[in-house]
């Protein structure tokens, strides 16, 4: 009974302080879990290395040593540069063409319907299926790899853009029309900005696929970049080098997705707050 009395009499700042404390506790728990799981993985690597030998699993210590060595002698920076060239150029090309075609198909519903089966067919075909064709048409080097990345990233960007515009908020389009907006301003000032969050998620998905496309191109065409390093190390059973490159790829992919997620949150801020209201 006295318990419930003190509970109701407790001032407000106390409960907010308690909420803040709970949040801090949760964050500490989250970080310690992350660190714990990472340590567990590293220890398992070490154990597997000790039991099965370095052909099956390298020691994390060796991986770090190789990673530092390959960074200092310029191997990794050079490979990273080659990979990034392919990735960035292919991705930019996909972004420009994907958004452009997507705006066209989303804005002209009839054109959208005409091309829909073809876009879907292309999107459903694994990107790797086109690699032989791309080799025949564009060769084995950087430009061909850019085409591989472009081909992989194009469709998610295109489809998200078209869908975002086609599903523009009817309330807003009607509002703009009632104030006399013509087709042009209706499209560029209402429908396209309204589709921005959808375009941005297309760009994020496209970026993730671009890293995949880059490595696949580097593995299957003229070996270069980080993908090339993977094959070289794997073929020579240098698992420590191999893992060092895998970790670089992991970091690269994470950094790209994280930065795009950040951009998405910033540019689509209004949409996030809107959906919280409803």
């Amino acid at each position: 009974m006295s318990d419930s009395n003190t509970e109701t009499a407790r001032p407000i700042h106390d409960s907010t302080a308690r909420a803040a404390k709970a949040r801090t506790r949760k964050r500490v728990l989250l970080w310690s879990s992350w660190i714990g799981i990472t340590l567990l993985l590293l220890v398992s690597m070490e154990v597997l290395n000790a039991v099965a030998g370095k052909l099956v699993m390298p020691s994390p210590v060796d991986v770090v040593r190789e990673g530092v060595g390959m960074t200092l002698d310029g191997t990794i920076p050079r490979a990273l540069g080659q990979s990034l060239t392919v990735l960035v150029l292919g991705y930019l090309l996909a972004a420009v063409t994907g958004i452009g075609i997507g705006i066209f198909l989303g804005g002209l519903p009839f054109a959208g319907r005409v091309f829909d089966p073809f876009v879907n067919a292309m999107n459903s075909t694994p990107g790797a299926a086109f690699i032989p064709l791309i080799i025949v048409w564009f060769g084995l080097y950087t430009e061909a790899k850019i085409v591989v990345v472009w081909n992989a990233a194009l469709f998610p960007i295109l489809i998200n853009t078209a869908a975002g515009i086609a599903s523009a908020n009817r309330d807003l389009t009607e509002m703009a029309q009632s104030f006399g907006a013509g087709r042009w301003s209706l499209f560029w000032q209402v429908m396209v900005p309204d589709a921005l969050p959808s375009i941005l998620s297309g760009l994020r998905i496209g970026a993730a696929i671009s890293t995949v496309g880059t490595v696949i191109a580097e593995l299957t065409m003229a070996q270069s970049g980080l993908g090339g390093l993977l094959v070289a190390a794997g073929n020579r059973f240098q698992m420590d080098k191999y893992f060092a490159v895998v970790f670089v790829l992991m970091a690269l992919g994470t950094a790209i997705t994280a930065s795009l997620r950040y951009a998405e949150r910033r540019l689509g801020r209004w949409r996030v707050s809107m959906s919280e209201d409803h």
Binding site: R170, D171, L172, T173, E174, M175, A176, Q177, S178, F179, G180, A181, S185, L186, Q189, V190, P193, D194, L196, W270, R271, S273, M274, D277
Partner: protein
């Protein structure tokens, strides 16, 4: 009597290739500076009537004339919607400037007029805020300021206060009356709130559903200005209210069917871009 601002003659409108008759034989005049409410149960085509008036829809029979010409969204009409329908990616100021840009005003003129109107609705300090940062009532004020910005002869208001809480609604009604008295804009106000219609308007057009048609038109004879004393205390208010109440209840005995009709009339499914 002055020439009507808006004149509807035997207007009919149907949807779904004529299978659903939304409006039938509507004849109605709106005079300059007049405040007219359209009242009726859901499914009687109130919103359709507004869309016909501003040219978003074309009538299937009869004529709609605004100042003697067929209306287009560029005529001197402006809509206020039930949800404010602000562009969420633009600031409050940007939202008003948007419609002024559609009317071809210069950048400086847009800025000046928008700020003036935000002052008129008491939101000058929120010019740089984004719609989602405002309360529902504030968003609706922006919607009103946006409509007034194009300096319309007629404001078409589609249940603008229906989604607000009672307190905010009261305040906004009084403010709307003041703005109306000051600016002399005619207002066509759709509502299904009988009290609201009596409180605000000079004339009430009661519509009946199936198909939407004018049941009767009532003149509201209450002292002006109405925001100074509460007209609800006036016996004439009570008498009008009772009259409207009886008429509406006589026509809406079959509630379920009415609701069905409300869906059938949903213009979202019948109108392309």
């Amino acid at each position: 009597m002055t020439a009507p601002l808006i004149s509807l003659r035997n207007v009919g409108k149907w949807f779904k290739d004529g299978r659903v008759v939304a409006l039938e034989d509507i004849t109605l005049d709106i005079a300059p500076r007049e405040f007219v409410s359209l009242v009726g149960p859901s499914g009687c085509g109130k919103t359709t009537l507004l869309r016909l008036m501003n040219g978003l829809l074309q009538p299937d029979t009869g004529t709609v004339l605004v100042r003697g010409e067929a209306p287009t969204p560029n005529s001197d009409l402006a809509m206020v919607f039930q949800s404010a329908r602000l562009l969420p990616w633009r600031s409050v100021l940007g939202n008003i400037e948007f419609v002024l840009a559609l009317r071809g005003l210069s950048r400086t003129a847009r800025r000046e007029r928008s700020l003036g109107l935000l002052g008129a609705v008491g939101l000058r300090d929120f010019a740089e805020a984004f719609p989602h940062e405002l309360s529902g009532g504030m968003q609706q004020r922006v919607g009103l300021a946006r409509a007034l910005a194009v300096e319309p002869d007629v404001l078409l208001m589609d249940e603008p206060f229906a989604a607000l809480d009672a307190m905010t609604r009261e305040t906004l009604r009084a403010e709307l009356l003041k703005l109306w008295a000051r600016r002399g804009t005619a207002i066509v106000f759709v509502t299904h709130d009988i009290d609201e219609a009596i409180f605000l308007s000079q004339r009430i057009v009661l519509l009946r559903p199936r198909p939407g048609a004018i049941e009767t038109t009532l003149t509201v004879d209450l002292p002006e200005p109405r925001w100074e004393t509460d007209p609800r205390a006036d016996p004439r208010f009570a008498a009008l209210r009772a009259d409207l109440w009886n008429r509406i209840h006589a026509m809406s005995r079959d509630g379920a069917e009415l609701e069905e009709l409300a869906y059938a009339f949903d213009p979202g499914t019948t109108k392309g871009i």
